[in-house]
Symmetry: C2
Subunit: 104 residues, 2 copies
Amino acid sequence: MTGRTSFSVLRSRMSPESQAQAHEKSLALKGDMALAELRRAMRLSQEELAAALNINQASVAKMEKRTDMYVGTLRRFIQAMGGELDIIARFPDRSIKIDQFGDR
Amino acid sequence: MTGRTSFSVLRSRMSPESQAQAHEKSLALKGDMALAELRRAMRLSQEELAAALNINQASVAKMEKRTDMYVGTLRRFIQAMGGELDIIARFPDRSIKIDQFGDR
């Protein structure tokens, strides 16, 4: 993660009021989302996320429009927002977490 | 999905005894798994999964060794076993299902 600024670092630079608002907002999250919706729900701009990922804003915009990407790329995107990626294989009687992709 | 044989079709060709065993086995699934472990737990051979995916056994073997792959590829792999892929962004206070990658 060298050279990256995580969301938690970005958040620590926010005022206590903004932090509280961000927390309230995150509690209100629900339903399925695309990456851009999730970023907005976390009250992050493309520029902020780009800084956290050490890429430029245009690259974030491009990623948010993709309909497929590598699991590793998706994981870094979500981690930059302060989250973790879980890959779940869901069967009628059980759900299994797949741990083959960089989370072992 | 043209040309593919799903796991449910494969399973319907199994004897009732094998079906019951497979079901029992799936109920016993637990913990995190790599794709090869999951396949074995579902009592599928690489050949059977290859047939369901319309690829050859060597390609299945190769996929099972990969530490990164496209979300779409992973989804097809899991669907061929009769499951669905869920992509979850997990935050300390909430988990969000990401629906951007071919499941909308």
